[in-house]
């Protein structure tokens, strides 16, 4: 539909083609719902966000979940920075600036204190309804939206950093460079219709 779809520079983050990614997300989502209903949510919650390894600019904690890395001088990893931008395009119209919440959607900077990576991906991809006589909160399913699905880890890493007070409420001033691997993955995820 758009003139430069093929040459979009700045899109995506995952190395898997989008349809495969979406399928993966749905599968993970389904699996995690079972886990949640099994009452095992807290297992991962208190996990240490410290980055223990990195691969192409993406950091992981000791459990292998994506995490942030903030250097002593405040330089943030690329994913945290990218997540900041994507959050303030796709998420903030409901969840408020900087993950601080709005009058009707929860503060994700708080939610991510107790929400696991799997739960996060599941809820973002599949949505969630919390409708009762006193409230009508509905999170849409965003798994089909490449502007969100291709940036799932970026969003998670940014919000995890917010939840751990590793980044503040302002735009991160300094960031690591975007890697070639990231750029390639982004292009492949976003350019597939």
């Amino acid at each position: 539909m758009f003139r430069r779809v093929e040459s979009m520079r700045r899109n995506t983050c995952h190395r898997i083609p989008r349809d495969k990614l979406l399928r993966t997300i749905w599968f993970v989502g389904a699996a995690m719902i079972l886990v949640v209903s099994g009452g095992m949510t807290s297992a991962e919650n208190a996990s240490d966000p410290t980055a223990v390894k990195s691969e192409d600019g993406k950091y992981f904690d000791k459990d292998g979940n994506p995490t942030f890395k903030v250097a002593a001088d405040g330089t943030v990893d690329w994913y945290t920075y990218s997540g900041y931008r994507r959050y303030h395009s796709e998420c903030h119209v409901c969840h408020g600036p900087d993950g601080m919440g709005s009058t009707y959607a929860p503060a994700l900077a708080d939610s991510l204190k107790t929400m696991s990576y799997g739960d996060f991906v599941s809820v973002v991809a599949s949505g969630r309804k919390n409708v009762s006589s006193s409230q009508e909160n509905v999170m849409p399913a965003l798994g089909d939206n490449p502007n969100v699905a291709c940036y799932m880890d970026d969003l998670y890493i940014y919000l995890r950093a917010r939840a751990n007070d590793a980044v503040g409420r302002a735009r991160p001033a300094k960031k690591e460079d975007k890697t070639d691997a990231y750029t390639q993955a982004e292009n492949s995820c976003m350019s597939r219709k």
Binding site: M1, S89, V93, P97, S102
Partner: protein
């Protein structure tokens, strides 16, 4: 299906044939009775002015709460009730309940309407599940539900007389705005600018609900209902394909230009007036061209929908400055001549005064001195850029480019004013305008379109203008000179519609929840009362049993509830800064209620 089509033709034929103006005559007469409040803005001219004068600048300080009513709904309560004789009609946000209260029987609930709607529409609404109110006409109450169902209810019983679907929420179209009844038609716009909806205003027959005309904001001439020869833009015919020429390829099909603001009507000219919203996406690089007719004031023939004139305020929008705010119609002397004027306070920070008969641009001035993206509108009629705003390169998100952060743009995307309507008093010839005083950083980037999914394409952060900590002003404006007469600071954006009265008092609400009364001449605060929740509703007045009442919905939310709930950030504070400015959540909490005031007996 054939039957439906046949009936549609018949419906529109009947409309033209009889030219039935019964509902219109009734409404014009009712709107002249200051005891009632029969349309969303009080009158067709959208003045929000009442001739009631029992409450005056001298006695308003004695105002008391007369009665209250809980709507039973949380989230943002925009708009205000209608009053028709002894009946009051109160609407709510999703699930879009309507209550009919009998004012002569201690406000008993006569009937209640609550539609069943798929809750999946909730997250498709960009900025809370607001609704800006119902319309009355021909013994019916018209409601535009969140899921775009336009429903006609028997005003006496609440029984559904007909309903029609005005759009597809599966593609991001939703209903938030108030309808307007004109002659034998009910007119309604649609929301969905953040979802790439090709938006429109549609007129339905009030008896049957059959569509009479639909005018899109962008597209081929037969869809946007223009005549290349007779429809004018600043006095000149707009020519063929005026919209298509300003979009790349078929981007107009997901072009936005949504119509979620207010409608006005001039019975003597038989024209309806409204504005269109932002072009989709928020990333200007992705949609080259002027993107006509987004960000445009339309004047259309009420019977046919054919546009008489258009004026695009913000060609090729780069900041999300929707042009949907209300058009206020007034008859005033300008430079010694009696003029039929249209005054509009745009999101882009400019207040426009036009001749509403022909769209001639008379005044265009900033109504917040902090507005910096433009140096003003080119008013030289012989200039090739006549009527266009002169954009300051530093604040052009198009020129700064994709993936780059344009800093310090004033106003922010929520505009110097959003949907919260201003009031006009013919006594003072001043406009009373609730405003936002907020700036932003804006970074556009590429997004891809998926039907029914958000289609935004920019990151933004908002904060008060540098060196200031208040985020709103309530101002009095002279539309003839383009000057602020007085300005009251408010801690938060003023997100409530104003009311002007013959008693010399102007009313508005604040996000903390205060209903305030100020002197129309000086702006001096005369009274305030803190209602149960923040006010984003519009102030209304009516008379019943010989007493003048002031009514307002409270219930914080809307776009104001997003950005301000947690407090805005100070972009210069750096890492670790906690909200540099006041957080609304420290002042008020959710909950819909109507508070009604009167003088003690």
């Amino acid at each position: 299906m054939r039957k439906v089509l046949f009936a549609t033709c018949l419906g529109s034929m009947a409309a033209f044939a009889t030219g039935s103006a019964v509902a219109n005559d009734e409404l014009i007469k009712m709107s002249q009775n200051p005891k009632d409040w029969v349309m969303p803005a009080g009158d067709y001219a959208n003045t929000r002015y009442s001739k009631l004068n029992q409450i005056t600048a001298a006695n308003v300080s004695k105002l008391q709460v007369a009665w209250t009513f809980s709507t039973g709904v949380l989230r943002g309560h925009e708009g205000g009730p209608l009053i028709v004789g002894n009946m009051m009609y109160v609407h709510t946000p999703f699930p879009n309940k309507v209550y009919a209260l009998d004012l002569s029987k201690e406000n008993q609930i006569v009937w209640k309407y609550e539609p069943k709607q798929d809750p999946n529409v909730i997250p498709v609404m960009c900025c809370d599940t607001v609704n800006r109110g119902v319309a009355y006409g021909d013994g019916k109450i018209f409601l535009h539900q969140a899921d775009t169902t336009l429903v006609a209810l028997d005003a006496k019983t609440g029984k559904v007389e007909w309903s029609v679907k005005n759009g597809d929420p599966g593609k991001g179209a939703t209903g938030t705005s108030a309808p307007l009844v004109v002659k034998d038609k009910v007119m309604i716009g649609i929301s969905g600018g953040e979802f790439g909806v090709q938006c429109h205003v549609t007129a339905y027959d009030i008896k049957s609900g059959k569509q009479v005309w639909r005018a899109y904001s962008e597209g081929p001439d037969d869809q946007i209902l223009v005549d290349p020869e007779k429809t004018t833009d600043l006095g000149k015919p707009i020519g063929k394909d005026s919209s298509l020429k300003t979009w790349q390829g078929d981007q107009w099909k997901i072009g936005g230009g949504c119509t979620w603001g207010w409608l006005s009507y001039d019975p003597s000219l038989n024209m309806v007036y409204y504005g269109s919203g932002n072009p989709s996406t928020w990333n200007p690089k992705q949609r080259p061209g002027d993107n006509k007719w987004s960000m445009t004031i339309f004047a259309r023939n009420a019977d046919t929908g054919m546009a008489r004139w258009v004026y695009q305020m913000t060609p090729h929008d780069e900041w999300d400055y929707d042009g949907v705010n209300e058009m206020i119609l007034s008859d005033q002397q300008l430079n010694g001549a009696e003029r039929k004027l249209l005054t509009h306070f745009d999101r882009n920070g400019l207040a426009y005064t036009l001749d509403r008969t022909n769209g001639e641009l008379l005044v265009a001035e900033k109504y917040d001195p902090k507005v910096n993206w433009t140096t003003g509108v080119d008013m030289n009629k012989s200039s090739p850029t006549y009527g266009r705003p002169k954009v300051v390169s530093q604040y052009s998100t198009e020129q700064t480019g994709e993936d780059k952060n344009t800093k310090g743009v004033c106003p922010a995307a929520l505009g110097t004013k959003d949907e919260q309507p201003a009031a006009y008093s013919p006594d003072t010839q001043l406009f009373y305008v609730p405003t936002n005083h907020v700036c932003m950083d804006y970074e556009p980037f590429k997004v891809s379109y998926t039907a029914g999914q958000p289609y935004v394409g920019a990151t933004l952060s908002m904060y008060p203008p540098p060196g200031e900590s208040h985020m709103g002003n309530f101002i009095a404006w002279d539309n003839k000179t383009g000057k602020i007469i007085w300005s009251n600071k408010e801690q938060f954006s003023v997100w409530s519609g104003a009311l002007a009265t013959a008693g010399g008092v102007v009313f508005y609400g604040t996000l903390e929840g205060y209903l305030k009364a100020v002197d129309a001449k000086t702006g001096k605060e005369l009274y305030k009362f803190k209602t149960p929740s923040g006010i984003i509703g519009n102030v209304t007045t009516y008379e019943n049993g010989g007493r003048q009442y002031i009514a307002v919905l409270s219930g914080v939310g809307g776009w104001a509830g997003i950005g301000l709930a947690a407090g805005l950030t100070d972009p210069t504070a750096g890492l670790g800064a906690v909200g540099g400015y006041a957080a609304l959540s420290n002042y008020t909490s959710l909950g819909g209620s109507l508070t009604v005031f009167a003088l003690p007996q």
